[in-house]
């Protein structure tokens, strides 16, 4: 359930997600297209802003990722939750940004059913609810994917594991 935050001076309430418009990208280009360089720069910018938001406002930098090459189509790093950290791997396929990134947290994949077969990663984090809730469109960024998908996935898998006594 997204956090509800009062919009000062307005009578209505804004949802948490409304605040994250800055995690969207203007350029719509896939990795094979010439405009990908612009999109990749916007992705990096959004990740930096999200990182700053987490560091200074939420005081909880729960992820740290870096691209494996200048093309910025593959990312590796760590996610942190509940005092533990896990490796994370993300692939932006040629169909990106029409489809969300494919993401895998190797150590956690075997402890949950919330995963789907993926042609390049074998298994990936299940992102079906993003489609159902219209949480993904071609302007959404990798940062937004981390916020809307990975953060909830890690929380729910870890809660499940704790409930079953595996952690």
């Amino acid at each position: 359930m997204p956090l509800r935050i009062r919009d000062y001076g307005e009578t209505h309430l804004k949802t948490d997600d409304d605040l994250f418009y800055f995690l969207q990208c203007a350029t719509v280009a896939s990795p094979k297209e010439p405009a990908w360089a612009d999109r990749a720069a916007e992705e990096t910018y959004a990740l930096d802003r999200f990182g700053e938001y987490l560091k200074y406002l939420e005081k909880n930098e729960w992820f740290a990722i870096r691209p494996t090459a200048a093309a910025k189509t593959r990312w590796t790093g760590k996610v942190l939750y509940g005092g533990r950290s896990w490796d994370i791997e993300l692939v932006l396929k040629d169909s990106y940004p029409q489809t969300p990134p494919a993401c895998r947290i190797p150590e956690l994949m075997h402890y949950t059913d919330r995963k789907v077969d993926d042609p390049s990663l074998g298994l990936r984090i299940c992102d079906m609810h993003m489609e159902r809730n219209y949480w993904w469109d071609e302007h959404s960024s990798l940062a937004l994917y981390l916020k809307r998908e990975v953060s909830y996935w890690v929380q729910s898998v870890v809660a499940d594991m704790k409930g079953k006594g595996w952690l």
Binding site: T68, A69, A71, R74, T76, D87, E89, V91, R104, P106, E107, D117, P119, S120, L121, G122, L123
Partner: protein, 87 residues
């Protein structure tokens, strides 16, 4: 830069090997899935290790290749199964 990885399916009786030349910035898991597909196996149930048995958690092809370009692939459904007793 491209790196050549050799995946050896050590739990198969004839120890088949799949050799792949892949970019060093590619995720190791992607290369592993490709090798498993070439062998007609499901990477989801296979385990990749360095020679000696240390598991490969992930990372890029370049990071894995720094330790070894020979990768052992184990099918846990085969390893450990006992032959039927001879009566």
């Amino acid at each position: 830069m491209a790196i050549t990885l050799r995946f050896i399916f050590i739990s198969e009786a004839d120890k088949p090997a799949v050799t792949l030349k892949v970019p060093e910035e590619m995720l190791f898991q992607e290369a592993f899935v490709l090798a498993a597909k070439r062998q007609g196996k499901d990477a989801g149930i296979m385990t990749a290790t360095y020679p000696g048995g240390s598991p490969i958690a992930g990372g890029t092809v370049g990071e894995v290749a720094e330790k070894s370009t020979n990768i052992h692939v184990i099918d846990p459904s085969i390893v450990g199964s006992l032959a039927p007793p001879i009566l």
